[in-house]
Every structure is written in structure tokens, then in C-alpha cells.
Amino acid sequence: MNTATVQPTAEAQPQRPWAVKRSTRMFSAGRLLAFAVAAFGITLVTPLANVDGWAIAFLLVNIVWNLGVTSKLGAKERKDALLRLTITSLGMLAFIPWLSIFVSVLLKGYRALYPGYFVGDMRVTTPDDEFNMGGAGHAIVGSLIMVAIATVVTLPLGILSGIYLTEVRGRLTFLVRFIVQSMAGVPSVVAGLFIFTTVVQSMGKYSGLAGGLALAVLMLPTVSRTAEEVLKLVPDDLRNAGYALGARQWRTALMVVLPTVRAGLVTAAILGIARVIGETAPLLLTSLNTNGFVFNPFGGTVASLPTYIFAMFVYGTEYSTARAWTGSLVLLAFVLFFFLLARRLGGRKTAVKTKK
């Protein structure tokens, strides 16, 4: 064993004996495929039909297979297998409607989509016109204006309530947290009624401002809660460092704590926006709908994406329904955009935190 050349000893590869083998995985994929085909066969010869019938047949085939496999293993294993199956199918069933919504919005929504959709309005176009006329530009602008108003109102209030819950920690902490949570459940139509009785009736007309304020009522709990979550992540060391340098509480809060979580607070605002941009009911009571561009939030009724979709859908013809779906596609794209933006910013914040 005294050879001069040092044999490069094979580097120890991490063994993962518990990992699922490729062959096993291929086998179970093939098995599921075979079951799917079998279930399709069942739908052809039995009263079970359509998508839902197929799903039931598929589940039945799976149950039979699992009973067969576990027949020699005893009651405990059989129960475990059946419940794995139950939970998996309940889980799938929970996800199917949302996937179906995404798919149908895409499939039905692209029909009326053309570049002019984002800049056109409905002043000279009727809901029944060809898809290359008109658009929802006015609704997009209206929505953005109202969401901007809501953000300007709620962001400072949300941050203040976050600071109260994490920095000031006064006697009302419990009450404030409780109220914020309960407020998250105020029905959107009630928020609309509230703004109608206050803003709309005192101004004497429907307006974008009223719509924005109604959205603000619904947005405040989301922003407050997210702001609190974000501020909670600031390590106490930072606060103590601030105090040790002789800073008072207000300086520490404003100059140490808040700048640390700037991205997180933006996330709070964006999550709030994603929450309210699709709200319809309060806008039906506060800002209604119009066919043209309105840039003045004090100047009467304003269109918004949700009320545009709603009006198009209620109109009820083939072309107007297609326009409603296209509006939904744009609305969902906005929600997705804000959501991913929040995710991204939120992700960066945690990355900074773990590096520390």
C-alpha cells in the first residue's frame, strides 16, 4: 500500500438512502397516468361523466389500489393510506377552483384584448361593438387614482398604528390590535354605505375621492397589520444601540427603526393595494361608473376597473361579456403584479435580516 502516487480517494458523496429513487418516482407517475386513463374508461361506461365524474372515478381507482397494496399490512397502514388519499384529494379540490379561475380568465379574456384596450374609453363605443374599438383606459386610470388616494390616506395611519404596537406599546396595545383585526372583516358594502352617508351626501355628488376613501376604510387593516408584522422583525439590538448612543425614543423610532424597514413598509402598502384594487361593492355606492376619462377626483362619477367589468357583465351580450372577461384579465394582472412586487420587496428585506 505504499505506492508513491497518491490515489485520489473518491470524495465521499452524501448518500441519501431515504430519498425517493428515480425509478420509484417514474413508477408512481406511470401508475397515476394509468389510473387517469382507467378513470376515463370508467366515465365512458358508467353514469359518471364529465370532469367531476372523472375526478370521482380517479379517486375510486386510487382507493382500490391503496386498499390492495395495504391489504397485507394491517389496519393502521390501511387507515394511513386512505387518509393520505383523503387529504390529498381535499387539498387538490381546494386548489382546483383558483386554477380554473386563472385559466378561464386567460382563455376568455384574451379575445377582446388589443393594444388600444389600455388607452381607449367607451364614450363612442357601445359594449356591442367590435373588439378593436374602445377600451378600458378610463377605468384603469380611475382605479389607479382611487387606489392612490386610498394609499395616501392609509399608509401614514397604518405606519403610526404599527409604531404604536411595536415601539410605544401603550396601555391600548391589546385594544388597538383587536380593533384592527375586527375591522378587517367589515363587509365592503358597509364601507361603501358609510362613505356614502358621509362624503357623498355632504359633497352632494359621487366622486373619485369618495371611492378612494371607501377603499381606504378597507385597506387600513391590511396595511396596519402588515406594518406591525414588519416592525416586529426589527431586532431589539438596533433599538438598544440607538438608546445607547443617547437618542431618545422618538429619534430611535424615526431614524433607526423606520429606515430599517423601509422596503417592508412599501410591501405593506402594496399588499393593501392588491387587497382593494378589485373591490366592487363600495365603488357601486360611491364612485359609480362613466364612459370617459376623468382625472379630477372631485368631479363627479369616475369609472374603475371593477365597476367597468361589472357594468359590462350585467349588460349581458356576447361582446360585452367578452369585454368583462378582458377587464378581469387586466384586473387580475394588476393584482398579480402588485402581489409579486410585494413578494420581491419582502424577500429582499428578509435577506438583509438573515445576513446580519
Binding site: 380554473s100 358597509v190 352617508t197
Partner: protein, 311 residues
């Protein structure tokens, strides 16, 4: 430890406290304005407003003939919400357990993101999807229920026309509520002490054994809180119900009949052409809805607060 605050600190704390109290003040203002504006209606109709079953607006100038009451709508709200919750709770528990304990680790993050995203889908889009996509399936299920179980009164119908029934609307509402309940339940399940679950496995328990004896009892109050939050949402849902249901003003227990409605959708529906008196009545309906959902949500948030560990 006593802390001494400087004057600047006191000003700072004052401003922050005032800001934090806006939610409280806002909630109070909502209640105050709704009570103030609906006082007329309650003075005229008293308790009948809640129990009566007629809504008739004679138009401007004939207010003496007006009759406003929302009994059927309150019942309708509860019926649709209960149908939705009876489907949503098993789905939410299954979904949460699947994500936390059965889903492959590689798609765990995707599923959690999808769950958050689903909670952000506007209810308007749920309504659109409900009518254009789901109704065909819902009608098939309704037909099946009516064929096989039609002898049970709640599954009987007057006319065979299943499209716009509380049952189908309830199914759509269930899809709408599941993300909310699931994400609360998942959150609680994910906090189950890992040691306890591992102990179960070490004692020879199966995965189901661990879930049944450790995870489910640990997460029970969280699931209840999530269900209450979902219930609050289902009771207050407006546009989806507006689009899915024909508003009919009578008490009905037949969940497959094409008739029904809830308080929130009634407010949106009647609001457009309402007279001054009628608006007061709609605001009164809003007040009733506000109180119901507030109670449900307060129960939910007190459970949540009791079960979340103090940070």
C-alpha cells in the same frame, strides 16, 4: 424599570397613539353614522324591520305606503354562508394539512404563494367564474341531489331550474372563502412543535396518527378562528352573490330553488333607484349586517389573539 420620557418623546407618543386610535375612531364613526342615518327606519318599523318579509317602496311622495323589512335576506345570508362553510371547512383543513404535511417540499413555497394569491382574487371575478364556468357543474350536482335526495324537503324544488340557486352560489362562495380559512389553518399547523410530531413517529405512529393526536388538537382553535373569519367574509359578500342569485323576497328553505339573496347584495341591488326613505332603510340593513359580521369577527380575532404566542 421606570422610563423617563423627554417632552419630545411625549409629543411623539401622543401623535403615534392618536394615529393608532384612528381605526378605533373609524369603527365608532361607521357605527355612529349608520345608526344616525337609519334611525328613521327603525323608528317607523321597529323590530319588524328584522323579522318582516316585505320590501315595498311606493316612490317619492307616497312614503306612507312604504314597507321595509329584511327578514328573508338575513335568513338568506345565513343559509348561503352555511352552505359555503360546510364545504369550505373540510376543504380548508384538507388543503392546510396537504400543504404542511403531504405536499412535496419542492412545491411547498409555490403552494403557499398560490394560497396567498388566491386570497387576493377579487370576489367580482369569482362571480363571473361562478356564472360562466361553474354553473354547468353546479347544475349537474343540483340535479343529482334533487333526483336522489329530493324527498328531503331542503332538496325539493318547485320548478326544475337549478342555475341560480343558493346551493350553486354557496359552492362559489366556498371557493372564495377557502383561501382565507386555509391560510389561517396552515399558519397554525405550521407552528406545531416539531418535537411532538417526531415523538409520534419515534413511537411507531403513522403520519395520520401524528396528525390526529398532535397536529389537529394543537391547531383546533386556529381552525375555528379561520372558519369564523371565513364566515364573516361569506356573510358580507356582495357582488358574487349579486351576480349569482335572483333576489326573491320570501322565506325559503329550499336550497336548490332559483331564489334567494343576502343582505349585502340586496343593498347593492336596491341602491341604484332608491328613494330617500329607501336609502335610510338600506342603511339600516347595512347596520344589521355590520353588527352581525362585527360580532363574528370579534369572536374570531379574540380566538386568534388568545392563541398567537406573544412576540
Amino acid at each position: 424599570m421606570t422610563v423617563i420620557y423627554s417632552r419630545a418623546d411625549k409629543v411623539f407618543r401622543g401623535i403615534v397613539t392618536a394615529g393608532a386610535l384612528t381605526s378605533l375612531i373609524l369603527l365608532g364613526l361607521i357605527a355612529a353614522f349608520l345608526i344616525f342615518r337609519s334611525a328613521d327606519t327603525f323608528r317607523t318599523f321597529g323590530f319588524d324591520f328584522i323579522t318582516g318579509a316585505e320590501w315595498f317602496s311606493a316612490g317619492d311622495g307616497f312614503e306612507a305606503d312604504d314597507v321595509f323589512s329584511i327578514g328573508p335576506m338575513i335568513v338568506g345570508s345565513i343559509v348561503v354562508a352555511l352552505i359555503a362553510m360546510s364545504m369550505a371547512i373540510p376543504l380548508a383543513i384538507g388543503g392546510a394539512l396537504y400543504i404542511e404535511f403531504y405536499a412535496p417540499r419542492s412545491i411547498y413555497r409555490v403552494l403557499v404563494s398560490l394560497l396567498d394569491l388566491a386570497a387576493a382574487i377579487p370576489s367580482l371575478i369569482f362571480g363571473l367564474w361562478g356564472i360562466e364556468v361553474f354553473t354547468s357543474i353546479g347544475v349537474r350536482w343540483s340535479t343529482f341531489l334533487n333526483d336522489r335526495l329530493g324527498f328531503i324537503p331542503i332538496f325539493s324544488v318547485d320548478f326544475v331550474n337549478f342555475g341560480r340557486s343558493p346551493f350553486v352560489a354557496g359552492c362559489v362562495l366556498a371557493a372564495l372563502v377557502v383561501p382565507i380559512t386555509t391560510s389561517v389553518a396552515r399558519e397554525v399547523y405550521s407552528r406545531t412543535p416539531r418535537d411532538l410530531v417526531d415523538t409520534c413517529y419515534a413511537l411507531g405512529g403513522t403520519k395520520w396518527g401524528a396528525i390526529r393526536t398532535v397536529v389537529m388538537p394543537y391547531g383546533r382553535s386556529g381552525v375555528i378562528a379561520g372558519a369564523m373569519l371565513g364566515l364573516g367574509r361569506a356573510l358580507g359578500e356582495t357582488v358574487a352573490i349579486y351576480l349569482m342569485l335572483n333576489l326573491v323576497f320570501s322565506y325559503s328553505y329550499r336550497i336548490l330553488d332559483s331564489a334567494g339573496g343576502n343582505v349585502a347584495s340586496m343593498i347593492a341591488l336596491k341602491f341604484g333607484e332608491a328613494t330617500t326613505k329607501e336609502i335610510s332603510a338600506l342603511i339600516a340593513a347595512g347596520l344589521v349586517l355590520f353588527i352581525i359580521t362585527l360580532i363574528v369577527n370579534m369572536i374570531a380575532s379574540s380566538i386568534v389573539q388568545r392563541t398567537t404566542p406573544r412576540a
